[in-house]
């Protein structure tokens, strides 16, 4: 199956399909999305009613569909770990504050986890399959697998698959208290050097249009996806990776680049470093979470990065990639884990 189009709103200048030349630098442990002018994608009357995460999700989806020149996809599938936090927080806060009185329905209605997929369906008048996955660090991968199965089952010729997660002041405060993020001043461009505990918070809205049939404008082929939960140790992880690569009839030598989910947390990054000594030894490895921050659906950003890299054959300049500069990149393996619990592998290749 083929990645026909993408739409990506992130803390970098990823929206609008311009080459990613410079990395935007941030200080502090929270990276916020650079939001586009929504008027170009959504009716201003509708924008006002939408909360931030819904706007981001809908705009990224619309940009993706426009690029694909698809008006109504055969399926809309979203993944979000946290859902619409701003609306949830708003309804819950008022509920507590006013002791269950004087509440209005808007934020409750929009707090439902399938709101973004539903809004996209509503705007497109799309009566087709619509599903929403909400499984922590597997939310995006679950949505992707559902879409891939629909294509295989011939129940869809194209599917719109996306991941959306936001940080709000409340969620940042709580996750900070849970010890997820680095303390003290930190630049996103230096997170891999710090060797301390914690990462930096990120967010994003990233959509893909996957199609059964190839087209001249495709980004890449999506050759495979595999997830595994709570592996028993590094040996188990190595086994899972080796089996995945073998299942897709390629060898490590055929892989030009590995995108890993390093996030700057000394403990969580150990896995990638260990693999660099064993099955990823002598392989070119690329990190991406200094650009988008860490969040449960960050692997969608990695897939976007892999797709744009394969389309042009080059890693975008913003990543300062110093690997074999003159070699065209044809095949990328993405290996990401979220908090050591949710591990995923995806394989993309040139069309």
């Amino acid at each position: 199956m083929y990645i026909r189009a993408t739409g990506n709103i992130s803390p970098q200048k990823t929206f609008g399909h311009q080459p990613l030349v410079d990395a935007v630098a941030y200080t502090g442990n929270r990276l916020a999305c650079i939001e586009p002018d929504y008027k170009d994608f959504i009716d201003p009357k509708q924008i006002r009613r939408m909360s931030r995460i819904i706007r981001m999700g809908v705009a990224a989806a619309m940009e993706c569909l426009q690029e694909a020149e698809v008006k109504v996809p055969d399926a809309i599938i979203t993944g979000t770990a946290y859902g619409c936090l701003e609306d949830t927080n708003s309804f819950l806060s008022k509920l507590v504050e006013f002791n269950e009185e004087l509440l209005t329905p808007t934020s409750f209605i929009q707090s439902t986890h399938n709101t973004i997929g539903a809004q996209i369906g509503l705007l497109l008048h799309c009566n087709h399959y619509n599903n929403a996955f909400v499984h922590r660090g597997f939310s995006f991968e679950s949505a992707l697998l559902d879409g891939m199965m629909l294509l295989k089952e011939n129940d869809a010729a194209n599917v719109l698959v996306g991941a959306i997660d936001e940080i709000t002041n409340t969620s940042h405060t709580i996750l900070n208290r849970l010890g997820l993020y680095k303390q003290g001043p930190v630049s996103n461009l230096d997170i891999y050097k710090t060797k301390t505990k914690g990462t930096i918070a990120g967010e994003g809205a990233t959509f893909f249009l996957l199609a059964n049939e190839p087209a001249a404008t495709d980004y890449a082929k999506l050759d495979g996806l595999h997830t595994f939960y709570k592996p028993e140790g590094i040996n188990d992880i190595e086994k899972q990776i080796a089996a995945f690569v073998e299942r897709h009839a390629v060898s490590m030598n055929d892989i030009d680049l590995i995108i890993t989910g390093k996030n700057g947390d000394a403990g969580e990054d150990k896995v990638y470093e260990q693999l660099g000594q064993t099955i990823f030894k002598a392989k070119e490895m690329l990190n991406y979470k200094h650009l988008c921050g860490e969040y449960p659906t960050a692997a969608a950003f990695a897939m976007w990065l892999a797709a744009v890299t394969i389309k042009s054959g080059r890693v975008p300049a913003a990543l300062n990639y110093a690997g074999s500069a003159d070699k065209k990149i044809n095949r990328i393996l993405i290996y990401n884990h979220y908090q050591g619990i949710h591990h995923s592998l995806s394989l993309l290749s040139a069309c």
């Binding site: 809309i76 770990a81 946290y82 859902g83 309804f91 819950l92 806060s93 509920l95 507590v96 504050e97 002791n99 269950e100 009185e101 509440l103 209005t104 329905p105 409750f108 209605i109 929009q110 707090s111 439902t112 986890h113 399938n114 709101t115 997929g117 539903a118 809004q119 369906g121 509503l122 497109l124 008048h125 799309c126 009566n127 087709h128 399959y129 619509n130 599903n131 929403a132 996955f133 909400v134 499984h135 922590r136 597997f138 939310s139 679950s142 697998l145 559902d146 199965m149 295989k152 089952e153 011939n154 409340t170 405060t173 709580i174 208290r177 849970l178 997830t227 939960y229 709570k230 619990i341």
Partner: protein, 402 residues
């Protein structure tokens, strides 16, 4: 490799709801017309005296004991584990360790019941509030508590499409088997009663202050319920190894979108129509083959006329028997598709049709009337189960006896 036509069997079932803590208790209540609504006992809400609810009749402590989990965990997880354990036990798969097993759970509230406690303190001072109350807030976190307790790890995910969530979880499970990703799937959903959802539905003014009357001309709204319901789906290969050879398959399924409004159904119920007709097509069945429709039947003005209109368009003049079992369990939101899937299996196994309780005046705009009383000793071969949710999310499942 994908086998799009491979049969997917129902090998086990589990429920906990307002009408019983297991399948046998629920069946007894269904056969004897005992509804589970009553005055609020376990949830602490300002609306406690005004709004009847269909609570599971166990406090968190008793539930925790039944589940074998600490009571500080979300009630959503406790309910889920009780029902999922029963489903696995009844499936009786002896060599489950050698099989690839999945857990697909649906929920709309996740750990919200505990988050509500956390927020009360957190809002006054955001360095306050017990973190253990918010750590399992995420829907997926509740699923993992249960998956870990069941030792399932080959494929785990969570679906949240409001009130159709469980139906979507169940047919995703069947597709995972057909795609040869797993051999066994425990699929269904769970939702506990929370102030968040109770108040949410209350602001929409669709909660009935009396016991709900779905498909009645004078219906006033829904009663919220809580619970969990799961089925164990197995491939034909696994089914062949079981002592009690399963006889019921998930023959059809479809999800479609109403694309009309975030919370209201379209007047013609286009999403419901497409879901039901899509499920029939998948099963290779005609409308007249269906013996019983377990209605979504929430009791709101909007749902029942939209669902009824879609049924009229698809089934006229061959109306099967119909009923809304939400007249017993209340609307258990993301759990409803799982609970009602188990009811569909019971209808097939026992040749019975459950009553649509408290139906007084049939809807004037519909040419059919749901069953008012229990129907026994009937041939039930194919049951259609409807689940429709916010965001226009409409799903229909068909269970068949082979």
């Amino acid at each position: 490799m994908l086998n799009n036509n491979a049969p997917v069997f129902i090998a086990g079932t589990g429920i906990i709801s307002a009408i019983g803590n297991n399948v046998a208790e629920c069946l007894d209540a269904l056969e004897n017309g005992r509804a589970g609504m009553g005055q609020m006992r376990y949830l602490h809400s300002a609306h406690g005296n005004r709004l009847p609810v269909a609570e599971v009749k166990l406090g968190d402590e008793e539930l925790a004991q039944l589940a074998g989990l600490p009571k500080i965990k979300s009630r959503t997880a406790l309910l889920s584990l009780v029902a999922a354990k029963e489903a696995l036990a009844t499936a009786g798969i002896e060599n489950i360790k050698d099989l690839r097993t999945g857990f697909i759970s649906a929920t709309s509230v996740g750990g919200m019941d505990k988050t509500e406690n956390f927020f009360t303190e957190f809002l006054s001072d955001n360095s306050k509030g017990k973190l253990r109350d918010v750590i399992n807030h995420e829907c997926g976190s509740v699923t993992e508590l249960v998956a870990d307790a069941l030792h399932i790890k080959d494929y785990i995910t969570t679906i949240s499409t409001a009130c159709s969530s469980s139906a979507n979880a169940i047919f995703l499970g069947a597709r995972l088997i057909r795609n040869n990703i797993v051999d066994v799937v425990v699929a269904g959903g769970t939702d506990s009663m929370t102030r968040f959802t109770l108040n949410g539905f209350n602001t929409l003014m669709i909660v009935d202050e009396q016991f709900c009357q779905p498909f009645d001309q004078n219906r006033r709204g829904l009663n919220l319920g809580e619970g969990a319901g799961y089925v164990v789906l197995v491939s034909d290969k696994v089914a062949a190894t079981l002592k009690n050879k399963p006889t019921i398959i998930l023959s059809g399924y479809c999800n479609a979108n109403d694309a009309y409004h975030q919370t209201a159904s379209s007047p013609d119920g286009i999403g419901s129509y497409l879901a039901m007709s899509g499920a029939l097509q998948k099963a290779g069945l005609k409308p007249e083959d269906i013996d019983y429709i377990n209605l979504h039947g929430t009791g709101t003005q909007n749902n029942d006329i939209a669902e009824g209109t879609a049924i009229k368009r698809l089934f006229d003049p061959h109306y099967p028997k119909m009923s809304s079992t939400k007249t017993f369990t209340g609307h258990t939101l993301a759990a409803s598709g799982g609970i009602e899937a188990v009811f569909a299996v019971l209808a097939l196994q026992h040749g019975i049709i459950f009553p649509n309780l408290r139906l007084e005046t049939p809807m004037v705009d519909l040419p059919f009337v749901p069953e008012r009383a229990l129907v026994k000793n009937v041939e039930v071969k194919h049951v259609l189960s409807n689940s429709f949710g916010f965001g226009g999310n409409c799903s229909s499942l068909i269970f068949s006896k082979i």
